[in-house]
Amino acid sequence: MRIIFLFFVSVLFLSVSEKDRNKKKVAKQIKSVFEIEKFELSTIIVDDIIKEKIWDEFNYSKFKKIIHNDTLIGYSYESKAPSMHYEFDYLIILGLDLKIIDSKILVYRENWGGEIGSKRWLKQFTGKGKEDRLKYMKDISAISGATISVKSMIETVNVFLESVNKLNQNSVL
């Protein structure tokens, strides 16, 4: 009985505030990737005519330029992708060459499949650029017990890279 009581008391201390958690995580990731202390995120304006050529669900509001010391150093993109019954939030950071330099799962809600948050697994997306279209098992390895989320992340990165390609072709990037 004492063990159960102590367990619940210790659990209460582990619960933390969730306000703006994604914003903090994104900031921490950008600082870590570029090894900088300060930066700003700047909106990228995309014409409606160009938007029509691009993936309907592209999250323009979360596609930003990363500015450090008044210089553009890269791009940050946040969005959601489906897992089995829910959605997960992810972040992709692009370099100036429009290749992925980092990716991270910000929030994973499903009870299973969260293994896609593995840093080592996500490294497989690093270096992929606007011309790449990734194939499950061939380019990106499987994770047993997380097949649906693995495929979802691959598909979402593919449509993202295709969108980046079109934005580049239309001189937005």
Binding site: F7, H85, N111, E115, G117, S118, K119, I143
Partner: protein, 364 residues
């Protein structure tokens, strides 16, 4: 001929089951509110000797609710063999922080591969591996609470729970502790058991699991009848690379107090139970195709009398081996036709028996 005609009828009838899953998808609104899903299996078992059997082995509804970003309820309601109804899972999950959740309710014990991942399209073979019935008593679920978390930097997932223990009645025989599952049905809780598992996936395509389960069975405080102490350790591995897959599992269980138990309950519970299997599979289709055709072969050995205490003589018939080979045709993600051929033997007999199995499996 009769059996062949029956197979054809069942295969044709099964196609309607595949279409039905689309209706369920329209009820789901990802990330919000009600979540609906499920899985199902229909089996045909044709032994070399004896009667063939057809069965809607399982039909399970996943019913969940997403209260908010942090709180989810997950439940699975199962119909087995058409007439039996069970609850397989019913727990509340609360995200304490990213990658760490508190769970409480009726949950799956994390041991081996199939007990947690038992949807029919996630394993080869029509039936679940034999050791996942006799050694790990799948589907093994009990009421408890605990923590479930991940360390993304280390490619590690961990689970730690306190569960209600097994019942003390009905243990023994070829299925070991299987009859001791309380399943959350007005179960006695006089002993608390510990369950823990760590999964590591730091090498691309490979996942290793190490699990432990420890505790005593529940004993009625108003009686003198003894229970036993259970210590179970499980190791499992899965590897997938291109079209090739492998998986393996080894579980050993020590049962403390089996001699006194057998005297009191007039049973034949072993003091040690071991089981293992090794499986290889190959996708015969190109990776460019959405459909998969996995050819597989699995060898398994499991024994509920790997050790016996006191005057109990080990029953060699409980030392079983099974060779299974077959095909799993995944026609869509979450829908498969399956068939396999099994050769079953045991140490008590020089003769083996065989059975052909057919089945369908869906998961959505």
């Amino acid at each position: 001929m009769k059996k062949f005609n029956l197979i054809i009828v069942l295969l044709l009838a099964s196609t309607s089951f595949v279409f039905a899953q689309n209706a369920a998808e329209t009820l789901m609104n990802k990330g919000q509110g009600l979540v609906l899903g499920g899985y199902g299996e229909v089996h045909v078992n044709l032994p070399e000797d004896g009667n063939g059997k057809v069965d809607v082995h399982r039909l399970v509804t996943l019913l969940g609710y997403n209260f908010n970003e942090k709180v989810q309820f997950v439940s699975e309601i199962e119909f087995e063999h058409v007439v039996e109804v069970y609850v397989e899972q019913a727990f509340l999950s609360y995200a304490l922080k990213d990658n760490l959740s508190l769970r409480a309710g009726l949950m799956l014990i994390p041991m081996g591969i199939v007990n947690e991942f038992h949807e029919p399209t996630t394993f080869n073979g029509v039936e679940r591996p034999g050791m996942d019935k006799s050694i790990i008593p799948t589907t093994w679920r009990e009421i408890g609470f605990g923590l479930n978390g991940r360390v993304d930097d280390a490619s590690l997932k961990y689970q730690l729970y306190l569960f209600n223990g097994f019942k003390s009645s009905g243990l023994g025989g070829s299925n070991g502790i299987r009859s001791g599952r309380a399943k959350g049905a007005e179960a006695m809780w006089n002993t608390t058991n510990i369950s823990a598992k760590v999964d590591w996936y730091g090498i691309q395509g490979l996942k290793l699991g190490l699990a432990g389960y420890f505790g005593d069975t529940n004993v009625d405080v108003n009686t003198d009848v003894p229970g036993v102490g259970i210590s179970m350790i499980g190791l499992d591995a899965r590897y997938v690379k291109d079209r090739f897959g492998m998986r393996g599992q080894f579980v050993t269980t020590s049962i403390d107090g089996s001699e006194e138990y057998n005297l009191a309950w007039d049973s034949d519970l072993g003091s040690k139970m071991n089981g293992w299997y090794l499986e290889a599979s190959y996708n015969l289709f190109s990776l460019d195709k959405e459909e998969k055709l996995d050819f597989f072969a699995r060898y398994s050995n499991y024994d509920t009398h790997a050790g016996v205490a006191g005057s109990l003589v080990a029953n060699d018939a409980y030392n079983r081996n099974v060779l299974t080979t077959g095909l799993s045709w995944h026609v869509a993600p979450g829908a498969a036709f399956k068939m396999d051929y099994q050769i079953l033997g045991n140490e008590a007999s020089d003769e083996n028996t065989s059975v052909i199995n057919f089945g369908i499996g869906v998961w959505f």
